[in-house]
Amino acid sequence: MVKHTYLHDKHVKLGAKMVDFAGWHMPVQYSSIIEEHKTVRENVGLFDVSHMGEVFVSGKDATVFLNKIVPQDITKLDYEKAVYCQLPNQNGGLIDDLIIYKLGIENYLVICNASRIDEDLNWIVRNKRGMDVKIDNQSHNYSLLAIQGPKAIDLVRKMGYNIENQKSFTIKPAVIEGVKLLASRTGYTGEDGFELLVENEYSEFLWDKILEKGEEFGIKPIGLGARDTLRLEAALHLYGNDLDEDTTPIEAGLSWSVPKDKISDYNGKEVIMNQIANGVSKKLVGLEMLDRNIARHGYDVYFNGEKAGHVTSGCVSPSTGKNIALAYVKNNKEICTGAIIQVMIREKLHDAKVVKRPFVEKRNRV
């Protein structure tokens, strides 16, 4: 059975094109992906991302437990701070990528991908054996609304929320438009903004309020189509495309989220530390096509006539008009430093240049 978020009827009424995504019937676009994308880059957009998983982790051993399942050092996470991390298996391959929020003493919120919630929970339960930890999957009780774009802050302020002391990658209990919620200054677009975690029954009221108050800022509802092009321009990984169980955070270019000085052991640590010390054989790079062709997920990459990797995500970048992609290639200095490589598209090779990620400047660092 395909699941509906509490905002499903709103999307249908707004005329959204609906698709099945990770078991949910979700809006892929309301008007046009390009138009919605530009709205988020220039003004502000509202996303229903209630399909995401919310798991509360608490109990005497919560910190020790989380520290055992992610490379980030959770012992160093401050109250109300958020941290991007991954859930590696014993080989360092990734079961999922997550954001962990510290809500209080031995009290955490984990937000994970809709497509991976079952795998995550299985893995978490297997790893908590013998520990005093409560795992509370609340995904079905919460809606998640994301407000993203250069005018997101003005909008949230307009809604009466005092954001002055809330920096990027923090979460706070808040009351916005009379609704009790958790306000997180995070997102998946490369823009500044908030993600609001709210009990299902208030989600429709909040959705309408945001659109109403956002009108003067040019707000539009944004579908999953633009969410994908926005995250790809910002070179944010998508699980299932750019991350999987055979790829480590080091190969994925996520070394910045893997502390080298973490003392505690965690799943996959040996492999991951060995890759930090001795290098990796494959590496995620950005590509820019040199003709009009678009590299898509699964296409092969060639260098000097030999297969050198594959594309994991690709699209036309609505902000730059260039055709961009992420690809795993052999970690060879010649390829990874601005080489011209080829992508096999419909049985023909098309030139692309290896370029720096992200493809657009991120504006969410506060």
């Binding site: 992906i33 390009i34 092009t229 009009r292 678009i294 898509r296 036309v316 419909r346």
Partner: protein, 125 residues
């Protein structure tokens, strides 16, 4: 008679306007479903295809799709202006948004499974 009253459609969303040379394109329903068109690849004049062959490729922001020949034929003209401005298909896929002109190379029986636009629309419901 409006354009759509004159065309026949395939279940894979191509249309054909019959004539000595036939005009082939994609229906408005197909364009609507694809969304923002960002790429179009057309065959070359002189290329020959059988009914059902892939003769062109189209991509929206989200995905790549193949376009199939509604009948067997030889390409006699391609709408090359569209290749440089594929987004114009979102505004007009009929009068100015045709893809290729084709000289049929097989018999009338190839039209048997094509639908009038009205029947095609009904089929979609």
């Amino acid at each position: 008679m409006s354009f759509t009253e004159k065309i026949l459609c395939t279940k894979s969303h191509e249309y054909i306007l019959k004539g000595d040379t036939c005009t082939v394109g994609l229906t408005d329903y197909a364009i609507e479903q694809l969304g923002d068109i960002v790429f179009l690849e057309l065959p070359e004049v002189g290329d020959e295809f059988s009914k059902g062959d892939t003769f062109a490729n189209i991509e929206s922001v989200k995905a790549a799709s193949e376009i199939y020949m509604p009948i067997s034929g030889k390409i006699v003209e391609v709408n090359s202006a569209l290749v440089d401005a594929p987004e114009s298909l979102n505004d007009d896929c009929y009068e100015n948004g045709w893809l290729v002109k084709v000289e049929p190379t097989a018999g009338e029986d190839e039209y048997a499974d094509l639908l009038t636009y009205a029947d095609y629309k009904e089929e979609l419901e």
